[in-house]
């Protein structure tokens, strides 16, 4: 989770990732940032994130992203 927070801070340091739950719905991360994030998560955690996973509920908060990563690692 700590590593995830660092990745998120690197991409856009203006958001409060510990508490924010509407990163996508609130327009805090745009599509370019999402793709940058996907690349960083794939490199850091060795998972493959497909277009199917690119839905707001997987990226609206740091916790949601963490849950998605753990689910993909198990598969």
């Amino acid at each position: 989770m700590e590593q995830l927070m660092k990745i998120l801070e690197d991409i856009n340091p203006d958001n409060d990732y510990a508490t924010e739950t509407a990163l996508i719905d609130g327009g805090l991360l745009d599509s370019f940032a999402i793709l940058e994030l996907v690349s960083a998560l794939e490199d850091a955690y060795g998972v493959e994130i497909t277009a199917t996973e690119l839905v707001p509920k997987n990226f609206n908060s740091a916790q949601a992203m963490w849950d998605m990563i753990q689910r993909l690692q198990k598969n």
Binding site: D30, S31, I34, L35, E36, V38, S39, E42, T50, L54
Partner: protein, 525 residues
């Protein structure tokens, strides 16, 4: 029958509302379905066939995709993995069939004449005595919208975001719902289909809010857009006769006309849907307060932008080949430039499609590429801009900085709309050049502006109308809902405002003698 016609507003819609009220809840969706197909038939006659075809085909494709998943889920033991792989391959093929079928039909109907003409022009330059026959099959109204809804449904079933709908009627209604079918917004099955099917009762709040929204839409369309249309038509049709300030005025007025027309018609759409308790997504969010080109497209025609993002940009950006390009580029160029290299081709595809979606013409393609370049450069420039602002201690959230960015965006948008509206790309460049070459302030004094089809009264009516729109947009930008605030006023004041709004439209609307009825602009795209 257009949304702003008396036939629609005073006969068709009230009749549907009355019958809807009288029918039992479980039958109401059938009424909406029948009304939608009658509405479509009145506009497109026998071309309704394409709408039927779309509904039947996505119904079949959805069930086919679902059947694959069900077959894979039934497999057990060692056969399960093989069945899962076979299912994935088969689903990909089915998705391709569906997309090719719907996008292919759209391309065939809408773009065949454009490609045919350009190919024939090319063949004329070659020593080949061959010319292709002109192919014109007729374009049903709204095909650009319902085709995208059809593809989004198939794709969502493929990705298992939704289950395939086994009710053909419900799917047919989702594609054809009469307030939406002409010019959107582009709805998602998951947001809209169930609310269409539920047959919610007509509630006081929904109906009054719906009527308010429709009156606001009529105000924008009839008082502003249709009035400005006279001036816009004159300048863009006779563009060789004008230059300098007049052409600039034409481009500005067209931008405002398009906003008032399209957002006004969307207000009519959302207002109508609201009366029936149907959820339809918003399509505009104060676009002229944008600070960058990409933000503008997150606020203008929102449902088209999100469609391209979800169904083209993301899937293309996440293909194995594009990811590989990104990985290599990040190693050589660093994180930011490498990421830009990864999105280059998908972004180009999005903006070529966006441009051509609006119409078959080189100026539309140019319009798409114009925004592609602006958005790409904006993204590349952003880290440097942030660095410079930090170095100079500039507050990028301050009023002055924001105001400058808003003015910059206004210039960018007006320039784009000039090419978008011009009668061809050559005319667009000619008009753009003439803004700078024929600049003369004399037109402001010699009465030339009064010879553009609008008199002082028209200019004043349009200007006052635009002040209203600006005021409402400022309130919305600050999180204040005008409708909610109005609804909380006492009954006499509230109804006085409603009646005044209706009277404003009736008295100041640009219709009748001296004005031509103007079809919704986006219905032509």
């Amino acid at each position: 029958m257009q949304y702003v016609s008396l036939l629609y507003l005073l006969a068709f819609l009230p009749l549907v509302l009355l019958l809807y009220r009288l029918l039992p809840q479980r039958r109401r969706w059938r009424l909406l379905l029948a009304a939608s197909y009658v509405f479509f038939f009145l506009m497109s006659k026998q071309l309704i066939f394409y709408l039927f075809f779309s509904a039947i085909s996505i119904h079949g494709i959805g069930l086919w995709l679902d059947a694959c998943d069900a077959a894979a889920a039934r497999a057990e033991g060692e056969a399960a993995e093989a069945a899962r792989l076979a299912c994935a391959q088969k689903k990909k093929r089915i998705l391709c069939y569906g997309v090719v079928l719907h996008i292919g039909l759209l391309v065939l109907l809408k773009y065949a004449p454009f490609f045919g003409q350009n190919l024939n022009a090319l063949l004329l330059k070659l020593p080949l005595p061959v010319q292709l026959p002109e192919l014109s099959l007729g374009v049903p109204v709204g095909i650009s919208f319902f085709s995208l809804q059809a593809v989004s449904y198939i794709s969502d079933v493929y990705h298992r975001r939704i289950r395939a709908d086994d009710n053909l009627g419900r799917l047919a209604l989702f594609l054809a719902f009469f307030p939406v079918v002409v010019e959107g917004p582009i709805c998602r099955y998951s947001d809209t289909a169930q609310t269409l099917y539920e047959g919610k009762p007509l509630e006081y709040e929904n109906v009054t809010f719906g009527i308010q929204r429709m009156v606001w839409g009529l105000f924008k369309k009839l008082v502003i857009a249709d009035r400005l249309n006279i001036l816009v038509e004159k300048i863009f049709t006779n563009y060789r006769d004008y230059s300098g300030i007049v052409v600039l005025l034409g481009a500005v007025c067209y931008t405002l006309q398009l906003y008032a027309d399209f957002s006004g018609c969307i207000d009519l759409t959302i207002g109508t849907a609201e009366m029936f308790g149907v959820t339809v997504p918003e399509n505009f969010r104060q676009p002229f307060f944008s600070r960058t080109a990409s933000e503008f497209w997150r606020r203008w025609h929102i449902t088209l932008g999100t469609w391209f993002k979800d169904y083209l940009f993301y899937p293309l950006s996440l293909t194995k080949h594009v990811k590989k390009i990104g990985r290599e580029a990040r190693k050589k160029l660093g994180r930011h430039l490498g990421q830009a290299a990864q999105v280059f081709l998908p972004l180009l595809a999005v903006w070529v499609c966006n441009g051509l979606w609006h119409g078959a013409g080189w100026n539309y393609l140019f319009f798409g590429l114009y925004y592609f370049i602006l958005i790409l450069l904006g993204n590349l420039w952003e880290p440097a801009a942030a660095g410079i602002a930090k170095f100079l201690h500039l507050n990028r959230e301050g009023f002055l900085w924001r105001a400058m960015q808003t003015v910059k965006m206004a210039a960018i948008v007006v320039t784009g709309e000039l090419f978008f509206r011009a009668n061809g790309l050559r005319a667009g460049f000619s008009m753009f050049r003439s803004i700078f070459t024929g600049w003369s302030a004399a037109v402001l004094r010699n009465g030339a502006l009064m010879k553009l089809g609008l008199d002082g009264y028209d200019f004043a009516a349009a200007a006052i109308g635009l002040v209203f729109v600006l005021a409402v947009d400022i309130l919305h930008e600050n999180g204040i809902s005008v409708r909610r605030e109005t609804a909380e006023l006492s009954l006499p004041i509230r109804w006085s405002i409603y009646l005044a709004a209706i009277l404003l439209v009736v008295i100041f609307g640009a219709y009748g003698t001296g004005y031509l009825p103007v079809d919704p602009l986006y219905a032509g795209f």
